[in-house]
């Protein structure tokens, strides 16, 4: 590989570069946020209306018709919609980042071909802009909990930490997929299917306790299904969110470990893959 050095070796100019990039990231995020709902009559409301519609549909289908029985949470909360939202909002954020990250390179092909800037920022800006809406949604959820008589205020800080960890996990994945999608355009379609499977393989619309009930009688088969099910890191993320918001309890040590480790390794892997393959982006696009 050739080497391109833009003579930014000393610490001060590196710091200046970082500062400049921070502003660029901010501007790219603003572009996403401002551009997304421009020209629509409802504008920003769409970012709340979409999850609201999903919540309504799931609540009617699974809460009222199929009668999924949610667990009883802290302060005696026994409400399917709240139970659902604790997992649905993180899930929406996750799938949003993966989808937006995948499209980031192709959508900005012109920018990549004509200007030089750290290409990671395109994925980061998608991730950060979605994080802003994620935060607003979570705020609305917290208010809903208050209205239903639960007090989630003590759990705000650990929830925020968990949200950041989820963001890192999703961003790492998005970094990897964003370059993969340039080299293989089929990736996006595979990921669409993958996300669908993952949605049902994660306890979003149903309580995790149901999973052990479906397992067959044989102990060996149960072990397999369980370990396969728990191999999905999102199960742990979603359970952690539910622990904190719905049950008001600290997640188990295993869950915390899995969440921290997958977030770190996903980001590291994503970064490594991205820097390795991003050199040829301008010509492959």
């Amino acid at each position: 590989m050739g080497r391109v050095s833009h003579a930014q070796e000393d610490v001060i100019s590196q710091f200046r570069m970082a500062l400049a990039n921070r502003e660029l990231l901010g501007n790219l995020v603003l572009r996403e946020l401002r551009g997304k709902y421009k020209g629509t009559a409802l504008g920003w409301f769409w970012s709340l209306l979409n999850p609201l519609a999903a919540t309504l549909i799931f609540s009617v289908v699974f809460g009222a018709i199929l009668r999924v029985n949610p667990t009883v949470g802290a302060d005696g909360i026994h409400n399917y919609t709240l139970f659902l939202l604790c997992a649905l909002l993180p899930w929406n954020y996750f799938s949003g980042v993966v989808n937006a990250g995948m499209a980031a390179m192709l959508d900005n092909a012109n920018l990549i071909k004509k200007t030089a800037f750290p290409r990671q920022l395109l994925v980061f800006s998608a991730s950060v802009s979605l994080f802003v809406t994620f935060c607003i949604e979570m705020l609305v959820l917290a208010v809903a909990f208050l209205l239903f008589g639960a007090d989630p205020l003590l759990w705000v800080v650990p929830t925020l930490v968990l949200m950041v960890l989820l963001a890192l996990f999703a961003t790492g994945l998005a970094l990897m997929l964003s370059v993969a999608n340039v080299y293989f355009r089929d990736s996006a379609h595979f990921v669409a299917i993958g996300l669908q499977v993952l949605f049902y393989a994660t306890p979003v619309i149903y309580p995790i306790t149901l999973v052990s009930h479906v397992s067959p009688d044989s102990l060996v088969a149960r072990l397999h299904i369980d370990s396969l099910y728990y191999a999905n890191p999102l199960v742990h993320y979603v359970e952690a969110f539910r622990d904190l918001l719905y049950d008001h309890q600290i997640p188990s040590l295993t869950t915390v470990l899995v969440v921290v480790l997958t977030a770190a390794s996903s980001l590291w892997l994503g970064w490594t893959v991205f820097t390795r393959y991003s050199g040829r982006l301008a010509e492959e696009l």
Partner: protein
């Protein structure tokens, strides 16, 4: 390191030419791995040192690798071999308004584009008025750019890019934007740049501009660096060299370079070809001041009364240099039938060195109806000759005489 702004050593860039792009996983599985591709070296072992404060040009044919080199220098492409050292802040103008978001206002896009080009918010704040003023868009700055005309769009893009305040500016064929007054402003800005001792790297096909603007040029040919030197010497050599190249290309038609221009007309009289004759022999390469003949070969299936013939000479950047025709000189062409040719004898070709394009057309006697119009039918090169003039498009052929006024001390 003090005097060198950009240094490339041993830079090679390889492109992959996919036979069938491996953009589906299915295709990848079927072939068992990577797609088949040919390797194509767009740049091979290029060593270049661009001094601080100079305006440096890159010239070469289409596909010679000059734009690839510029993209490598700008950090958009990563070379496969070799290294590039850039000392200073770079702004690259490869496409104006790249990254504008159509739904956002001009103001938002200035901030967005500015930060993509490496400006801080404070810098943009400081220069915002100047940027808007330069683009001449005060009244439209809060309108979404999707409502801009294409001219407004590139003007704003140019204005942001030129106000980035870079130490090194890299430009690829984007100077010719906007109307005449805007272009003049751009040229003034460039002159300021040079006066402030900043480094400019330009890629352009407009050789006359390169000759006047650059302090030094590098000539690339098929990915190899053919030479670096003074623009006058190198541009002349390039114009000469590109001639030799073309003759080889044109093995089938040694007469010149038929180019693929547009053609229209009703066809009562047609122009089958055009030749440039130097001393009676067809050529496409003549020196300034040569005695030449432009020969138009015509054909008419049925008798046509008093057709009017004309030619036009254009530079590659589209300047209409001259347009002689038979009507302006009251030449009676009579009634034409069959085939034949018409000669325009030029005692002294007063074009300055460069490449020109010849258009030929034939009209009815009123010059209202077009029989055959063949746009940019033929391309020819003018090499340095006598007069030695090199600037502009034509030579006046004058001679200088120096004298002292009576009464002044000698």
């Amino acid at each position: 390191m003090g005097d060198i702004a950009v240094e490339a050593s041993g830079v090679s860039k390889r492109f992959r030419l996919y036979h069938e792009r491996n953009q589906s996983l299915k295709a990848a599985f079927m072939r068992g791995g990577r797609a088949k591709f040919d390797e194509f070296w767009a740049l091979q072992d290029v060593d270049l040192q661009i001094p601080v404060g100079k305006t440096f040009g890159l010239i070469g044919h289409n596909g010679s690798g000059k734009s690839t080199l510029l993209k490598c220098l700008a950090g958009i492409l990563v070379p496969d071999r070799g290294s590039i050292d850039v000392h200073g802040r770079v702004s690259a103008l490869l496409e104006l308004g790249a990254g504008f978001h159509p739904e956002l206002s001009g103001r938002d896009n200035v901030y967005l584009n500015g930060s993509i080009l490496g400006m801080s918010k404070k810098q943009i704040d400081r220069q915002f008025d100047e940027i808007v003023d330069f683009a001449g868009l005060e009244t439209f700055i809060d309108t979404p750019v999707k409502n801009y005309s294409s001219g407004m769009y590139v003007r704003l893009g140019f204005s942001v890019a030129i106000n980035v305040d870079p130490e090194i500016l890299m430009v690829d064929e984007v100077l010719a934007v906007g109307d005449e007054s805007f272009q003049r402003k751009c040229m003034e800005k460039f002159a300021d740049f040079r006066a402030q001792g900043r480094t400019v790297v330009i890629v352009s096909h407009a050789l006359s501009t390169m000759r006047t603007m650059c302090d030094e040029v590098a000539w690339l040919d098929h990915g190899h660096l053919k030479g670096v030197g003074h623009p006058r010497d190198l541009v002349d050599e390039y114009v000469g060299g590109s001639h030799e190249d073309r003759v080889v290309d044109d093995g089938a038609d040694p007469v010149g370079q038929p180019t693929r221009g547009a053609r229209w007309g009703s066809g009562e009289v047609t122009i089958s070809s055009v030749e440039l004759l130097d001393a009676g022999l067809p050529t496409s390469h003549v020196p300034t001041g040569a005695e030449v003949t432009f020969r138009i070969h015509w054909k008419a299936d049925r008798p046509v009364r008093e057709p009017v013939f004309g030619i036009a000479v254009h530079t590659l950047d589209g300047v209409h240099v001259t347009g002689p025709n038979t009507r302006d000189v009251d030449l009676a062409t009579g009634t034409l039938e069959g085939a034949g040719h018409l000669d325009l004898r030029v005692p002294q070709l007063m074009l300055t060195p460069g490449t020109y394009e010849l258009t030929a057309a034939v009209f009815d006697h009123s010059v209202v109806h077009t029989f055959d119009h063949r746009d940019k039918l033929f391309r020819f090169d003018v090499a340095p000759g006598r007069p030695r003039d090199q600037y502009g498009v034509i030579s006046l052929g004058g001679s200088w005489e120096l004298a002292s006024d009576a009464g002044s001390s000698t």
